[in-house]
Structure formats: C-alpha cells, structure tokens
C-alpha cells in the first residue's frame, strides 16, 4: 500500500511553491498578497505530510 502522505505532500509543496513564486499578483477586491498567504500554508502542510511519511520509513 502506498503511503498517501507522500503524493499529497508532493502535490501541495509544488502548488505552494508555484503560488509563493508569484506573490505580487493582485485581485480586484483586495490589496493583500493572496498567493503568498494562500501558498505558505500549502507549502507548510505539504512539508508536514512529507515529514510524516519520511518519519514512518
């Protein structure tokens, strides 16, 4: 059985990196750096998943 945490972790690290790499994109109704604030939790979550999967090995 594959450890599901690995693909989930890799996916969110990749998406998180893509978002963090483009922090200055702006949306019409907010001046916040939405990609940065949305990407960082994904990066963190993906990292935790990968760490949990690695620890199990």
């Amino acid at each position: 059985m594959i450890d599901l945490r690995t693909p989930i972790g890799v996916f969110f690290v990749m998406v998180g990196l893509a978002l963090v790499a483009m922090p200055f994109e702006r949306a019409p109704l907010t001046s916040s750096m939405v990609n940065l604030y949305g990407g960082l939790p994904m990066l963190l979550f993906g990292g935790v998943m990968l760490w949990l999967a690695w620890r199990r090995r």
């Binding site: 059985m1 594959i2 599901l4 693909p7 989930i8 890799v10 996916f11 969110f12 990749m14 998406v15 893509a18 978002l19 483009m22 994109e25 702006r26 949306a27 019409p28 109704l29 907010t30 916040s32 939405v34 990609n35 604030y37 949305g38 990407g39 939790p41 994904m42 979550f45």
Partner: protein
C-alpha cells in the same frame, strides 16, 4: 473570469496526481474484494476524510455557499444538526452491525437481517439514485464551468468523467478513497482563504452583522415560528425533519458514505471513521457557508461586488464563483477552480464506486450469475464502473434537457431515503422486526411521502392530488414529507412484523442489538475509542450552537 497559464498548470498538476494515484494502486488490485471493498485495509485517518469528502460534491460546496447567502447562518443546521449527530450515532451504535456482519454492502446487510426482496428493493433504488445523483452533479458542474469560464458543456463533463473513470477503473474503491482525501485537503486549503478575505473585506464578523439582518447570523434564535426566518421552518420541523429523519436517513443508511467506513482496517477503525469525520464536518460551515453570507454583506457595501441577478431576485448559485473572481488573483484562482473540480470528482467517484459494488454484489452476483470465479466479478465490477459513468453522462444530458429534473430527483431521494432509517432502526434494535414488515414499511413510507407531496403546496410545488395545506417554503415541505414518510414506515413495519413470523434468534447474531457481542476496547486510550471521542464532539457542538445561537 479568465484563467492564466499558471491556473491551467495547477489544474493539469491535479489531474496528473489523481491519475498517478490510480496507476500506483492498480498493481495491488487482484480480486473483486480489492476492487470493490478495498479488502477492509484502509487506515482510519484516510477513511474518516473520505467519509466526509464523498459527501462534498460540487453541489454541496456551491449549494451551501448559495444557501449561506440566501438563508444565512441557519444553513449551518445542515452540518451541526443535520449531519454531526447522525455521524456520531452511526459510528457508536450502528457500525458494529454493518462491519461485524461481514456484509459487503448496505443492501447485503438487509439481506442478512431481513430477506432477498428487501435487499433488491434497496439495491435497485440505490443504484438508480446514485447514477442520477452523479449525472445531476455532472450537469451542475458543466453548467457552472460554461457560465464562469465559457468552457463547452460537453468538454467539461467529458474531461472530468474521463479522469474519474480512469482512476476508479484502475484502482477501484481504494483509488477513489485515496483521491477523496487529496480532494478534501484541496477543498479546505482552496476555499479557506476566500472565507477569510471576504469576511475581512466586510470589516470582520461585526462588520457583517452591521450590514445584515440579525436573522442572517443566528442559528436557533429565530426558529420559534416559520415566519421569523428566511428558511420558513419552525423548530419542530427543523429538528424532527432535518435533524432526525433526513440526516439519520442519509448518514446512517446511505451506502455511499457507509462504504468508506466499511473499508477501514478494523472494527475499531470503522467505528471511529464517522466520529473522526465529525470534527472537520463541524468546521465546514466556516469554509463553505460564511463566504455566502459575506457575499450578501458585500453586495450592500458598494465596494465593487454584487451578487448577480436572476429574474426578480439574486442568483445565489454564483456567490462562490463571483467571490473567487473578485478575491483570487491568477494562481489562487487556479487552486479555487481546481478545488471546485475536485469537489465534483470526489462526489462522482463516490457515487460510481458505491454503484459498482451494489451492482456487482447485490444485483449481478445475487441474481444473474451466482457462483462464478472471483476474476469474473472483478471484471463485472470494472464493467459496472464504465457503465455507471456512461449512464451518469446520459443523466447529465437528461438534466440539461429537462430543467425540472433536479427538483424531481431531490424529491424522489427524500421519498426513498426518509423511510429507510426507520427500517434500519427497527432492524438493528428490535429483534422482532421481520422481512415482510421491513419491505411493506418501506413501500408504505415511500407512498406516504408521495401522498404528502401530492396534498401540500410550497412555492407552487406539490399539490398534484389536491391542496390541504400550504407550507411557507419547499424546505419546510421537504422536512414534513420526511417526517410523515418515516412515521408511516415505522408504524407499518411494527404492525406487519407483529403479524408475521420473525427469523430465529440464531440467525440474527451479529445483526441485531441484544444478540451481538458489542466490541469493547477498554485497553485503548480514550482518544482511540468512539464513545469518548463522540462525547468530545458533542461538547464542541454544544459550544458552537451556543455561540451562534
């Protein structure tokens, strides 16, 4: 709404991962049990999240956001009253019978407990309902993507159906469950920022409260009378209709969700599955309902956002997508749309994997070819997956052709699901219940539901026999239809059971309370036992209801 290249890249990455999971799992699918039941081998954290995600279809996410804008925080009753208590009940009290009976499906449990005719009635109605449900969900997604992105209806549904087909065909239930977990995290991480951004823009919770009627931010305070709240329901109809009949009818008997718990790797894990799922379920209103409420508040603020119009009113169904267009830049927009696609796919895969199991075991093996080699049933399971998706696509086109088919289907679901809980309640907890009683009760419950609909009117719907009562909303009508259906099934099942011979007690071991050794695990720490965990959920639930009274 226009997508950038990074948005398409995120969508493509997601498709690659779900297909990749299907290919990885394919290698361990050797038998029909592997394909259709995961061979009861899935860890509890995965079954818990899949239990929740299988219910998180596109209509759930888009619809709950729309209901948030239309009815306010009262919509949270669909979670805190209409889901969590039933999830605790099925985990603590009913799962020992589902899992302990070794049944492979809910209809098969009905066969073991009652008889073949009750099983076939449940299997046939469930199979038809799942296909239509999947098709209607597909239709909703196709329309949404057509409206928001200008994608062709056919292209949208064929693309998503093809991907679901590939990963469920390859890896069966395990693949669907694993992808549901990925989809769950994507939905949570994709939509949470939207809720936060929209509420901040409103000036926080107090800012929303200042711009909306008080009824929009309360759950119980205005349920004393149906005229006081936008749902048009009063406290009895709400608690008995939604909180008891409809919610227990769905969460405790619908094989779509029960199948996830039955795939767990032990009895303890199966019992904890719905209980653990209740924790995130309690939080979901803040992710899917609050953005809808914020959308309505923003419409009153003149900040450049307004809910689109539809006829004389507002098009609440577009609350979620219009908020995304205003608050998400390229990047997060791709994540949000991928989450929307994921919610659709998890709902569809859930329906298809439940359908192929019921078709293979309860209809095909039960009535068409009984003693074939297992390899044959594996082949039938895969063929049923292809057939189920093809029929879902046909149902999507049917829904496109007949606009009111969604209303009709919702109604039929409530006709069938509401009485079913009475059958299970009596079957599991009263050993005197008979097969004839269960079967007659189910038919009478469904007939009572149809009669109630035919005799009452709400928002121009129903009253096709004559009109003896008018409900203030279709929601109130649906709740009362469910109450009458359940009561009729409960009463008739008891009456017919008392007039017919019950099964010998020796045949009911493992199937009925009082004749089954219930699992006890005093050695386990409290956080690995369902009852103490359910108690924690209850405490949190009470706190949430008091805060948002």
């Amino acid at each position: 709404m226009t997508l950038g290249s990074v948005d398409y890249a995120i969508l493509a990455l997601y498709f690659a991962f779900v297909l990749g999971i299907g290919f990885l799992i394919r290698r361990r699918v050797q038998s029909s049990e592997d394909f259709l039941t995961s061979h009861r081998s899935v860890p509890v954290w995965i079954t818990s999240l899949a239990f929740l995600a299988a219910n998180l279809g596109a209509q759930e996410v888009v619809g709950m956001c729309a209901s948030g804008a239309k009815y306010g925080l009262m919509t949270a009753h669909f979670y805190w009253l209409g889901a969590v208590p039933a999830m605790l009940f099925v985990g603590v009290f009913m799962m020992p019978f589902y899992y302990g009976s070794r049944a492979r499906s809910v209809p098969e449990y009905l066969k073991l407990r009652f008889d073949e005719k009750t099983r076939v009635l449940n299997a046939a109605t469930f199979a038809v309902m799942t296909l239509f449900s999947s098709g209607v969900s597909m239709y909703a997604l196709g329309k949404l993507f057509q409206l928001v992105l200008g994608w062709e209806f056919t292209n949208s549904i064929l693309l998503s159906a093809a991907i679901v087909l590939i990963y469920t065909f390859l890896g069966g239930l395990t693949s669907a469950i694993y992808n549901e977990v990925l989809q769950f995290f994507l939905i949570v991480l994709g939509f949470s920022p939207l809720a936060i951004l929209a509420v901040i823009k409103c000036g926080g919770w107090s800012g929303m409260a200042a711009r909306l009627p008080a009824v929009m931010l309360e759950t119980w305070r205005y349920t004393g009378s149906s005229s006081q709240n936008p749902m048009g329901v009063e406290v009895f109809g709400l608690v008995a209709g939604l909180g008891f009949v409809l919610s227990f009818g769905y969460w405790c008997t619908d094989f779509l969700v029960i199948q996830r718990a039955m795939a767990a790797n032990s009895m303890s894990a199966a019992r904890r599955t719905p209980v653990l799922a209740a924790f995130p379920k309690m939080v979901m209103p803040f992710i899917v309902i609050v953005p809808g409420i914020a959308a309505l508040a923003l419409s009153h603020m003149g900040v450049g956002y307004s809910l689109p119009s539809k006829g004389d009113g507002l098009d609440y169904d577009q609350a979620l997508t219009t908020l995304m267009a205003k608050f998400y830049p390229s990047g997060m927009l791709g994540v949000g749309l991928t989450a929307l696609m994921a919610s659709f796919m998890s709902g569809m895969a859930g329906n298809v994997t439940a359908f192929n199991t019921v078709f293979t075991y309860d209809l095909y093996q039960g009535h068409i070819r009984k003693n074939a080699p297992d390899r044959h049933y594996l082949w039938v399971g895969r063929a049923a997956t292809v057939g189920g998706i093809a029929l879902s696509i046909a149902a999507a086109y049917l829904a496109q052709r007949y606009n009111n088919i969604m209303d009709v289907l919702q109604l039929v679901f409530s006709f069938v699901n509401a009485p079913l809980f009475a059958t299970f309640l009596l079957g599991m907890f009263w050993k005197r219940t008979t097969g004839h009683g269960a079967f007659t009760g189910l038919l009478c419950g469904t007939a009572a539901a149809a009669a109630t609909h035919g005799l009452t009117i709400a928002e121009g719907k129903g009253g096709w026999i004559t009109s003896v009562h008018t409900f203030p909303s279709t929601m109130a009508q649906n709740f009362w239809i469910a109450i009458f259906a359940w009561s009729a099934c409960f009463t008739v099942t008891i009456a017919v059971s008392l007039l017919t011979a019950p099964k010998p007690e020796g045949e009911l071991h493992g199937l009925v309370y009082g004749l089954t050794d219930l699992p006890r695990d005093p050695e386990e720490p409290w956080y690995r036992r369902p009852a103490p965990l359910a108690l924690v959920v209850c405490v949190v639930l009470v706190i949430l209801n008091v805060i948002f009274w």
